[in-house]
Symmetry: C2
Subunit: 151 residues, 2 copies
Protein backbone atom coordinates (compact mmCIF):
# COMPACT_ATOMS: atom_id res chain seq x y z
CA UNK A 1 0.00 0.00 0.00
CA UNK A 2 1.19 3.48 -0.83
CA UNK A 3 0.50 6.47 1.41
CA UNK A 4 -2.51 8.31 0.00
CA UNK A 5 -3.68 11.87 0.20
CA UNK A 6 -4.38 13.29 3.65
CA UNK A 7 -8.08 13.78 2.95
CA UNK A 8 -8.90 15.52 6.23
CA UNK A 9 -8.02 15.94 9.83
CA UNK A 10 -10.88 15.39 12.25
CA UNK A 11 -11.33 18.15 14.81
CA UNK A 12 -13.75 17.55 17.66
CA UNK A 13 -15.74 20.52 18.89
CA UNK A 14 -18.39 21.10 21.55
CA UNK A 15 -20.21 23.31 19.02
CA UNK A 16 -20.02 23.21 15.23
CA UNK A 17 -21.75 26.61 15.17
CA UNK A 18 -18.95 28.12 17.30
CA UNK A 19 -16.31 26.37 15.20
CA UNK A 20 -17.79 27.71 11.96
CA UNK A 21 -17.59 31.24 13.38
CA UNK A 22 -14.01 30.57 14.49
CA UNK A 23 -12.85 29.24 11.11
CA UNK A 24 -14.63 32.04 9.24
CA UNK A 25 -13.82 35.03 11.46
CA UNK A 26 -10.46 34.08 13.05
CA UNK A 27 -8.90 31.81 10.42
CA UNK A 28 -10.43 33.42 7.33
CA UNK A 29 -12.08 30.33 5.82
CA UNK A 30 -14.11 31.18 2.72
CA UNK A 31 -15.88 27.86 2.16
CA UNK A 32 -17.49 25.70 4.82
CA UNK A 33 -20.08 23.03 4.00
CA UNK A 34 -23.52 22.82 5.59
CA UNK A 35 -23.49 20.71 8.78
CA UNK A 36 -25.30 17.38 8.62
CA UNK A 37 -26.04 14.52 11.00
CA UNK A 38 -24.28 11.18 10.81
CA UNK A 39 -26.24 9.36 13.54
CA UNK A 40 -24.70 5.95 12.78
CA UNK A 41 -21.30 7.45 13.69
CA UNK A 42 -22.75 9.46 16.58
CA UNK A 43 -21.61 12.82 15.21
CA UNK A 44 -22.75 15.98 13.48
CA UNK A 45 -20.31 16.89 10.74
CA UNK A 46 -19.22 19.68 8.45
CA UNK A 47 -16.10 20.39 6.40
CA UNK A 48 -13.88 23.46 6.19
CA UNK A 49 -12.26 23.65 2.75
CA UNK A 50 -8.65 24.78 2.44
CA UNK A 51 -6.56 25.71 -0.61
CA UNK A 52 -3.92 23.39 -2.09
CA UNK A 53 -0.48 24.51 -3.28
CA UNK A 54 -2.01 26.17 -6.36
CA UNK A 55 -4.32 28.22 -4.13
CA UNK A 56 -7.48 26.45 -5.27
CA UNK A 57 -9.89 26.24 -2.34
CA UNK A 58 -11.41 22.78 -1.89
CA UNK A 59 -8.39 20.87 -3.23
CA UNK A 60 -6.40 20.95 0.01
CA UNK A 61 -6.74 18.73 3.08
CA UNK A 62 -10.08 19.47 4.73
CA UNK A 63 -10.86 20.12 8.37
CA UNK A 64 -13.70 17.80 9.42
CA UNK A 65 -15.57 19.36 12.33
CA UNK A 66 -17.32 16.78 14.49
CA UNK A 67 -19.75 17.49 17.31
CA UNK A 68 -21.45 14.80 19.44
CA UNK A 69 -24.80 13.71 18.02
CA UNK A 70 -26.11 12.49 21.37
CA UNK A 71 -25.15 11.19 24.82
CA UNK A 72 -23.69 7.98 23.39
CA UNK A 73 -21.39 9.69 20.89
CA UNK A 74 -17.93 8.08 20.62
CA UNK A 75 -16.37 11.55 20.86
CA UNK A 76 -17.90 12.44 24.24
CA UNK A 77 -14.89 11.01 26.08
CA UNK A 78 -12.51 13.05 23.97
CA UNK A 79 -14.46 16.25 24.71
CA UNK A 80 -14.61 15.44 28.42
CA UNK A 81 -10.79 15.44 28.37
CA UNK A 82 -10.56 18.35 25.91
CA UNK A 83 -13.54 20.64 26.64
CA UNK A 84 -12.49 23.25 24.06
CA UNK A 85 -12.16 20.55 21.39
CA UNK A 86 -9.03 19.60 19.47
CA UNK A 87 -7.40 17.34 16.92
CA UNK A 88 -9.21 14.00 17.04
CA UNK A 89 -8.11 11.87 14.05
CA UNK A 90 -6.34 11.83 10.68
CA UNK A 91 -7.85 10.41 7.48
CA UNK A 92 -5.88 9.07 4.52
CA UNK A 93 -7.31 8.05 1.17
CA UNK A 94 -6.83 4.65 -0.47
CA UNK A 95 -7.96 3.44 -3.87
CA UNK A 96 -9.45 0.16 -2.61
CA UNK A 97 -10.84 -0.14 0.91
CA UNK A 98 -10.85 -3.96 0.95
CA UNK A 99 -7.21 -4.16 -0.07
CA UNK A 100 -6.37 -1.61 2.62
CA UNK A 101 -8.26 -3.63 5.23
CA UNK A 102 -6.28 -6.74 4.31
CA UNK A 103 -3.04 -4.75 4.39
CA UNK A 104 -3.60 -3.52 7.95
CA UNK A 105 -4.94 -6.90 9.10
CA UNK A 106 -1.76 -8.46 7.72
CA UNK A 107 0.22 -6.08 9.94
CA UNK A 108 -1.89 -7.06 12.99
CA UNK A 109 -3.30 -3.55 13.38
CA UNK A 110 -6.58 -3.41 15.29
CA UNK A 111 -9.44 -2.26 13.05
CA UNK A 112 -12.32 -0.67 14.96
CA UNK A 113 -15.48 -2.31 13.66
CA UNK A 114 -16.68 -3.12 10.17
CA UNK A 115 -16.09 -1.11 7.03
CA UNK A 116 -18.92 1.43 6.76
CA UNK A 117 -19.94 4.51 4.80
CA UNK A 118 -18.25 7.69 6.01
CA UNK A 119 -18.99 11.41 5.82
CA UNK A 120 -17.92 11.61 2.16
CA UNK A 121 -20.22 8.75 1.16
CA UNK A 122 -17.39 6.27 0.53
CA UNK A 123 -16.33 3.21 2.59
CA UNK A 124 -14.15 3.88 5.61
CA UNK A 125 -12.73 2.18 8.68
CA UNK A 126 -10.79 3.33 11.73
CA UNK A 127 -7.56 1.93 13.22
CA UNK A 128 -6.72 1.84 16.93
CA UNK A 129 -4.51 4.77 17.97
CA UNK A 130 -2.35 2.49 20.14
CA UNK A 131 -1.32 0.60 16.99
CA UNK A 132 -0.81 3.81 14.97
CA UNK A 133 1.74 5.74 17.04
CA UNK A 134 -0.91 7.51 19.06
CA UNK A 135 -3.13 8.64 16.20
CA UNK A 136 -6.70 7.50 15.67
CA UNK A 137 -6.45 6.84 11.94
CA UNK A 138 -9.30 6.71 9.43
CA UNK A 139 -8.82 5.06 6.05
CA UNK A 140 -11.26 6.11 3.34
CA UNK A 141 -11.77 5.05 -0.24
CA UNK A 142 -11.26 7.99 -2.59
CA UNK A 143 -14.55 9.35 -3.94
CA UNK A 144 -15.08 8.12 -7.54
CA UNK A 145 -15.30 11.66 -8.93
CA UNK A 146 -11.87 12.40 -7.50
CA UNK A 147 -10.14 9.25 -8.68
CA UNK A 148 -7.45 9.87 -11.21
CA UNK A 149 -8.88 13.17 -12.44
CA UNK A 150 -7.45 15.48 -9.87
CA UNK A 151 -10.91 17.02 -9.53
CA UNK B 1 -6.77 37.28 6.34
CA UNK B 2 -7.79 34.34 4.20
CA UNK B 3 -7.32 30.74 5.31
CA UNK B 4 -4.11 29.45 3.74
CA UNK B 5 -2.88 26.01 2.83
CA UNK B 6 -2.61 23.45 5.62
CA UNK B 7 1.17 23.16 5.26
CA UNK B 8 1.60 20.36 7.79
CA UNK B 9 0.28 18.71 10.88
CA UNK B 10 2.80 18.32 13.67
CA UNK B 11 2.99 14.82 15.13
CA UNK B 12 5.00 14.32 18.31
CA UNK B 13 6.88 11.06 18.66
CA UNK B 14 9.18 9.52 21.25
CA UNK B 15 11.37 8.30 18.37
CA UNK B 16 11.65 9.73 14.86
CA UNK B 17 13.44 6.53 13.84
CA UNK B 18 10.43 4.44 14.92
CA UNK B 19 8.04 6.87 13.25
CA UNK B 20 9.95 6.71 9.97
CA UNK B 21 9.65 2.92 10.02
CA UNK B 22 5.95 3.25 10.84
CA UNK B 23 5.19 5.71 8.03
CA UNK B 24 7.27 3.70 5.54
CA UNK B 25 6.25 0.15 6.43
CA UNK B 26 2.71 0.55 7.80
CA UNK B 27 1.43 3.64 5.98
CA UNK B 28 3.38 3.19 2.73
CA UNK B 29 5.15 6.56 2.64
CA UNK B 30 7.57 6.81 -0.30
CA UNK B 31 9.31 10.06 0.58
CA UNK B 32 10.53 11.11 4.02
CA UNK B 33 13.14 13.84 4.52
CA UNK B 34 16.35 13.40 6.52
CA UNK B 35 15.87 14.25 10.20
CA UNK B 36 17.61 17.38 11.45
CA UNK B 37 17.98 19.22 14.76
CA UNK B 38 16.18 22.44 15.53
CA UNK B 39 17.73 23.14 18.95
CA UNK B 40 16.23 26.63 19.26
CA UNK B 41 12.76 25.00 19.13
CA UNK B 42 13.89 22.08 21.30
CA UNK B 43 13.02 19.44 18.70
CA UNK B 44 14.43 17.04 16.14
CA UNK B 45 12.38 17.22 12.95
CA UNK B 46 11.64 15.43 9.72
CA UNK B 47 8.83 15.56 7.17
CA UNK B 48 6.72 12.81 5.62
CA UNK B 49 5.56 13.89 2.16
CA UNK B 50 2.05 13.03 1.00
CA UNK B 51 0.38 13.29 -2.41
CA UNK B 52 -2.11 16.03 -3.30
CA UNK B 53 -5.35 15.49 -5.24
CA UNK B 54 -3.38 14.99 -8.49
CA UNK B 55 -1.34 12.22 -6.86
CA UNK B 56 1.90 14.21 -6.86
CA UNK B 57 3.94 13.32 -3.78
CA UNK B 58 5.27 16.37 -1.95
CA UNK B 59 2.42 18.70 -2.91
CA UNK B 60 0.04 17.52 -0.18
CA UNK B 61 -0.05 18.52 3.48
CA UNK B 62 3.07 17.16 5.18
CA UNK B 63 3.39 15.25 8.42
CA UNK B 64 6.01 16.98 10.57
CA UNK B 65 7.53 14.46 12.96
CA UNK B 66 8.93 16.07 16.10
CA UNK B 67 11.00 14.35 18.77
CA UNK B 68 12.35 16.09 21.91
CA UNK B 69 15.82 17.52 21.41
CA UNK B 70 16.68 17.46 25.11
CA UNK B 71 15.25 17.49 28.63
CA UNK B 72 13.92 21.03 28.25
CA UNK B 73 12.00 20.36 25.04
CA UNK B 74 8.57 22.06 24.91
CA UNK B 75 7.06 18.75 23.72
CA UNK B 76 8.16 16.71 26.74
CA UNK B 77 4.91 17.47 28.57
CA UNK B 78 2.87 16.35 25.59
CA UNK B 79 4.78 13.06 25.40
CA UNK B 80 4.44 12.51 29.15
CA UNK B 81 0.66 12.61 28.62
CA UNK B 82 0.80 10.76 25.27
CA UNK B 83 3.72 8.29 25.53
CA UNK B 84 3.05 6.79 22.09
CA UNK B 85 3.02 10.25 20.51
CA UNK B 86 0.14 11.87 18.68
CA UNK B 87 -1.21 14.92 16.88
CA UNK B 88 0.49 17.97 18.39
CA UNK B 89 -0.26 21.04 16.23
CA UNK B 90 -1.58 22.31 12.90
CA UNK B 91 0.30 24.72 10.62
CA UNK B 92 -1.33 27.06 8.10
CA UNK B 93 0.49 29.17 5.53
CA UNK B 94 0.15 32.93 5.14
CA UNK B 95 1.66 35.24 2.54
CA UNK B 96 2.91 37.83 5.04
CA UNK B 97 3.84 36.84 8.60
CA UNK B 98 3.76 40.40 9.98
CA UNK B 99 0.27 41.05 8.64
CA UNK B 100 -0.85 37.73 10.14
CA UNK B 101 0.64 38.64 13.52
CA UNK B 102 -1.26 41.94 13.51
CA UNK B 103 -4.45 40.13 12.47
CA UNK B 104 -4.31 37.71 15.41
CA UNK B 105 -3.20 40.42 17.84
CA UNK B 106 -6.21 42.44 16.70
CA UNK B 107 -8.40 39.49 17.67
CA UNK B 108 -6.72 39.29 21.11
CA UNK B 109 -5.29 35.83 20.42
CA UNK B 110 -2.29 34.95 22.56
CA UNK B 111 0.87 34.59 20.44
CA UNK B 112 3.51 32.37 22.02
CA UNK B 113 6.77 34.29 21.81
CA UNK B 114 8.39 36.24 19.01
CA UNK B 115 8.24 35.47 15.30
CA UNK B 116 11.15 33.13 14.51
CA UNK B 117 12.48 30.90 11.76
CA UNK B 118 10.74 27.54 11.54
CA UNK B 119 11.57 24.12 10.14
CA UNK B 120 10.98 25.23 6.54
CA UNK B 121 13.32 28.20 6.90
CA UNK B 122 10.55 30.82 6.83
CA UNK B 123 9.17 32.98 9.68
CA UNK B 124 6.62 31.35 11.99
CA UNK B 125 4.79 31.89 15.25
CA UNK B 126 2.50 29.79 17.43
CA UNK B 127 -0.91 30.66 18.89
CA UNK B 128 -2.22 29.46 22.25
CA UNK B 129 -4.48 26.39 21.91
CA UNK B 130 -6.95 27.82 24.45
CA UNK B 131 -7.63 30.72 22.06
CA UNK B 132 -7.81 28.43 18.99
CA UNK B 133 -10.55 25.97 19.91
CA UNK B 134 -8.13 23.54 21.49
CA UNK B 135 -5.55 23.43 18.74
CA UNK B 136 -1.97 24.60 19.10
CA UNK B 137 -1.75 26.54 15.82
CA UNK B 138 1.39 27.47 13.90
CA UNK B 139 1.30 30.22 11.30
CA UNK B 140 4.10 30.11 8.72
CA UNK B 141 5.03 32.35 5.83
CA UNK B 142 4.89 30.43 2.56
CA UNK B 143 8.36 29.57 1.25
CA UNK B 144 9.29 31.96 -1.62
CA UNK B 145 9.77 29.14 -4.13
CA UNK B 146 6.18 28.05 -3.47
CA UNK B 147 4.53 31.45 -3.72
CA UNK B 148 2.21 31.79 -6.66
CA UNK B 149 3.92 29.12 -8.72
CA UNK B 150 2.13 26.07 -7.43
CA UNK B 151 5.53 24.37 -7.09
Amino acid sequence: MRLGRLNHIGVATPSIADSIRYYRDTMGAVRITEPFDLPEQGVKVCFVDTPDSTGEVGKGTQIELIEPYDESSPINNFLAKNPAGGQHHVCYEVEDIEQAREWFEGKSKRILGPTRIGAHGTPIFFLHPKDMMGQLTEIMETAPKDQGSGH
